[in-house]
């Protein structure tokens, strides 16, 4: 069977049109290069990115990175191996390199054992999606950013340009996903470690939206000029803003929702399978409809619109890669090989954002958390720091910024027995992460009001 999904897109950027044609040429060449009984898959990641780094309201480093990485996998029977190689952008050279990689893998296969967990799609499902429009030249954006900063101590990072993913296999499947986006991730500093962190990311640039966000950051920056307060270790009522919840989600990304980690009892959420639970208001899913991630993964499996993970506080599912599906007899659901969420979404609650200070009344308003890790993975006990704009609130009013504090508490308490409310409108945050390449991941999260949170240092 063949399903064709033409996503809602915009006019194809000329650069990306050329990229798609080049990938098609590589896919055709790989098919022609196969010997009897062989199959292939090919996964492409590419980007043409402008990067501008800013410190103290001036440009620290600026440049452009153009890169394409092709992962060619050769399969013969139950044996397979893959070669990930950099492409040059010259189609002729790249076709030759891909075919050469295939030949190298052919010589490797006799040395390898059969793989009992190999799983490939049994149907062809094509797709093509393009998102985003032409963005203003990055040099102009930086001029506007520096202007909007009004001489403040601005430190941050602007990344923009097209990012693309593609899949092909010997059965003729073709998937294409391209996003032209920008991500401006910045802080305005008062002094030392006191700053307001902000983000403006999306598919269409807007000077007005930048100014609105910068004005809001300036307003909050003024609060940081008050004398900071150092709190003693103890338990405090706290509002965990969506941007702070993002750090919690980032930690959980590494294995907590993984089908393999749950099956081997290594997930931090394993106790959800043994009677532990979150509050009934906690519902989490992998929601591809909310983000910018492709609707296919690197083995060519398509992804459902939504994968339930936590429903009303209880474990409802996990991210299952094809390999894990075969190993543990589970149903694959389009997860990547690391079984890490790419579009994690948590449902909102009833607390209106405008009512947060009043609902908090007396406690910590945590704008950002930082450097989370497990202090007891079995108990899903997390530790981490407050960072950037975190304030002490009394009578529903901000009193003073707070010097950094270490928390150490179980997520089962924070989002369980101690959960007071979730904010009404979850916030979509496109990932600014750029390790190796720019990500197409996002989270959509509400803030959480908790009756107490344990701070230890």
């Amino acid at each position: 069977m063949r399903n064709v999904d033409k996503g809602s897109g915009v006019a194809v950027d000329p650069v990306r049109a050329g990229e798609q044609a080049a990938f098609e040429a590589i896919a055709d060449a790989l098919r022609r290069a196969l010997s009897e009984g062989e199959r292939y898959t090919a996964w492409l990641e590419g980007e043409a990115s402008d990067f501008v780094r800013i410190n103290r309201g001036k440009v620290r480093q600026a440049g452009h990175v153009e890169q394409r990485s092709l992962c060619v996998r050769l399969i013969r029977g139950a044996r397979h191996a893959e070669h990930m190689l950099a492409l040059t952008g010259d189609t002729s050279d790249d076709v030759q390199a891909a075919v050469s990689a295939l030949a190298g893998l052919r010589t490797a296969l006799p040395e390898l054992a059969d793989d009992p967990y190999l799983m490939l799609p049994d149907a062809v499902s094509d797709s093509s999606e393009e998102h985003g429009a032409a963005l203003p030249a990055s040099e102009l954006v930086i001029e506007r950013v520096l202007d909007a900063a009004r001489g403040a101590d601005l430190v941050g990072f602007y990344a923009s340009g097209p990012v693309w993913r593609a899949f092909a296999n010997s059965e003729g499947q073709r998937n294409w996903h391209a996003v032209s986006s920008f991500n401006f991730d910045w802080s305005l500093y008062h002094r030392a470690d006191k700053a307001v962190k902000s983000m403006f990311a999306g598919l269409a640039w807007s000077d007005e939206a930048l100014r609105a966000r910068m004005d809001a950051a300036h307003e909050r920056l003024a609060l940081l000029s008050r004398e900071p307060r150092s709190l003693e270790p103890g338990r405090y009522r706290a509002w965990i803003a969506p941007s702070a919840m993002e750090e919690v989600a980032s930690l959980l990304r590494y294995g907590a929702f993984s089908g393999r980690a749950l099956a081997t009892k290594q997930s931090a959420l394993s106790r959800l399978e043994a009677g532990e639970s979150f509050d009934r208001r906690v519902t989490i899913s992998e929601d591809f409809a909310s983000g910018v991630a492709p609707r296919f993964q690197s083995d060519g499996f398509t992804r459902p619109a939504r994968v339930p993970l936590i429903r009303e506080g209880a474990l409802a599912g996990s991210l299952v890669s094809p390999r894990t599906a075969r190993e543990f007899g589970l149903a694959a659901n389009g997860a990547n090989p690391w079984e890490a969420p790419e579009a994690l979404a948590m449902e909102g609650g009833t607390l209106d954002e405008a009512d947060v200070p009043g609902a908090l009344d007396r406690g910590l308003l945590i704008g950002n958390l930082w450097y989370l890790n497990y202090s007891d993975r079995n108990a899903c006990r997390l530790t981490g720091m407050t960072r950037f704009a975190t304030f002490w609130v009394e009578g529903g009013r901000i009193v003073a910024p707070v010097n950094v504090l270490r928390f150490d508490d179980s997520l089962y308490r924070m989002l369980g027995t101690n959960l007071v409310a979730l904010s009404k409108t979850p916030e979509l945050m496109l990932s600014p992460e750029s390790y190796g390449s720019r990500r197409l991941t996002s989270v959509k999260l509400p803030g959480a009001l908790v009756s107490e949170m344990a701070f230890t240092l």
């Binding site: 440049g63 990175v65 270490r406």
Partner: protein, 477 residues
């Protein structure tokens, strides 16, 4: 790929330019639960052009290394330099322009390695030895062999070629029973990582280690929780490297001190006025940047700005002497630094990174270290790390610990954690182990920078004793 010989003519109207070619290939071998995982080969080639023009600084990276590709990258980098010169934080006309030439190669660079089949056989043997009990629910052995050639060429006549071969190995076993899961590894996640050949695995006793790793995972299942309280701790080298990395290495990076990382990796509690006088630790604390340590993961001859790399004391007898900053950061700050401007590949610009950051050995043997503790714990192998963005308030966890009472090692405990403040912690350093307790380890996974980079860092350390540390175990609620 132009790694040897002259480059094509590259006339560019600019004050200075450099090209940094990177060619890295790797093979990843993994056996998990006695099943060989599919072979993964990676090859990554490209070039980074850096240009100083009109006082600005720009870069452009491409994997098109043809003459036309090089010219286009240089022109694009120059355009960025010009476009941002008016807003530049650094006047590139004030920066040094290296004309260094030379060659570097990893030890045993040309020595033969095992074949693919032999790597898989070694891993299969270890994997089989780990399947000792039904409570071992997951286990894995892995080897990565990576070969890299870096060439740095500058318009000032610089030309440096460096060839590296890295071998990185790991083994882990996860045990589970009665709602409890414990994981034990061989020196941590890929902490066994050096330059060289097969001898690297011999140094760590990789062959034959699988059974011990699995046994210790099972042992942890039955162990009581680590005691809580203020007590002395003896840290093994595979925890010391994390302690050094997070609470000495990062805070001493000059680009953090200059503020570049404040939006992402963070700032530093260290300020410029501290260099030369600040007491970072006790008299026993001696920390060096040492790119010449044979086989250590981040040994090299020149950094990625063409600065020759030499050993230097960062902290001597507890006093802070210099920071971790390359030529650009030194020029910006006026502070002493080292040759550590490094990029994790052709597609990222150099920034200040740790390389080999080592704690110099003392004179206490292991028995003397244990014997000096009346009440405390001996912690091994990092498993959790968290530290504030100024690199001060930290909390670290280990895989395994043993209680020490009256100078003797006692029973094993699980979930050991400790916390402290960098500025105080190193002053509680009471004993430093001798060479017999020292290990040369590292991490291939140090993250930092915008755009972000993951780079290789080497760390060598003996075991060390710290007094009056806040220690605690797992969750009791």
């Amino acid at each position: 790929m132009p790694f040897e010989g002259p480059l094509p003519p590259l006339d560019l109207a600019a004050d200075f330019w450099s090209l940094r070619f990177v060619d890295e290939t790797a093979e990843h071998y993994v056996v998990r639960k006695n099943v060989a995982q599919p072979l993964v080969v990676t090859s990554n080639r490209g070039v980074m052009a850096t240009v100083y023009a009109d006082g600005g600084l720009g870069y452009a990276a491409t994997s098109d290394t043809s003459p036309a590709g090089l010219r286009a990258a240089l022109e694009r980098a120059r355009d960025w330099a010009r476009a941002t010169a008016a807003h530049g934080l650094v006047d590139s006309r004030t920066l040094p322009r290296s004309a260094e030439t030379g060659r570097y190669a990893s030890p045993s660079f040309d020595a033969p390695l095992r074949s693919r089949r032999e790597w898989y056989e070694l891993l299969a043997d270890e994997s089989c030895s780990m399947a000792v009990d039904a409570r071992i629910v997951d286990w894995e052995c892995a080897i990565e062999v990576r070969v890299a050639t870096h060439r740095w060429v500058s318009s000032a006549g610089g030309d440096v070629v460096q060839r590296f071969r890295f071998v990185m190995a790991g083994a882990s076993a996860t045990a589970h029973a009665d709602g409890e899961t414990q994981t034990r590894t061989l020196n941590g996640h890929r902490s066994i990582c050096q330059q060289g050949a097969d001898e690297i695995l011999d140094r760590f006793g990789f062959a034959g280690a699988g059974r011990r790793v699995a046994d210790e995972a099972l042992e942890l299942l039955l162990a009581p929780d680590c005691p809580s309280g203020t007590m002395d701790v003896l840290l093994a080298p595979d925890q010391m490297i994390l302690q050094i990395h997070e609470s000495i290495g990062h805070p001493l990076e000059l680009d953090r001190i200059l503020g570049d990382e404040r939006n992402f990796a963070g700032t530093s509690f260290v300020t410029p006025d501290m260099f030369g006088s600040y007491r970072y630790g006790s008299e026993l604390l001696n920390v060096t940047f040492d790119p010449g340590e044979p086989a250590e993961l981040a040994s090299y001859g020149w950094d990625d700005e063409g600065t020759p790399a030499r050993k230097a004391y960062l902290i001597r007898n507890g006093i802070l002497e210099r920071g971790l900053g390359g030529a650009v950061s030194q020029a910006r700050s006026g502070l002493p630094g080292v040759a550590n401007a490094r990029a994790d590949g052709w597609n990222r610009p150099p920034i200040d990174r740790m390389a080999n950051l080592n704690l110099e050995a003392g004179d206490a043997g292991f028995d003397a270290l244990v014997g000096a503790i009346e009440h405390g714990v001996y912690m091994e192998t990092n498993s959790s790390w968290s530290i504030d963005d100024s690199r001060n308030k930290f909390q670290f966890g280990c895989e395994r610990a043993r209680v020490i009472e009256n100078g003797e090692l006692r029973h094993v405990v699980k979930n050991p954690n400790y916390r402290g403040i960098s500025a105080d912690f190193w002053r509680s350093l009471a004993l430093v182990g001798d060479d017999s307790t020292r290990q040369v380890l590292g991490t291939p996974y140090c993250g930092k920078g915008e755009p972000s980079q993951i780079i290789r860092c080497g760390h060598a350390s003996p075991a060390c004793v710290f007094r009056n540390v806040d220690v605690f175990g797992g969750d009791r609620a």
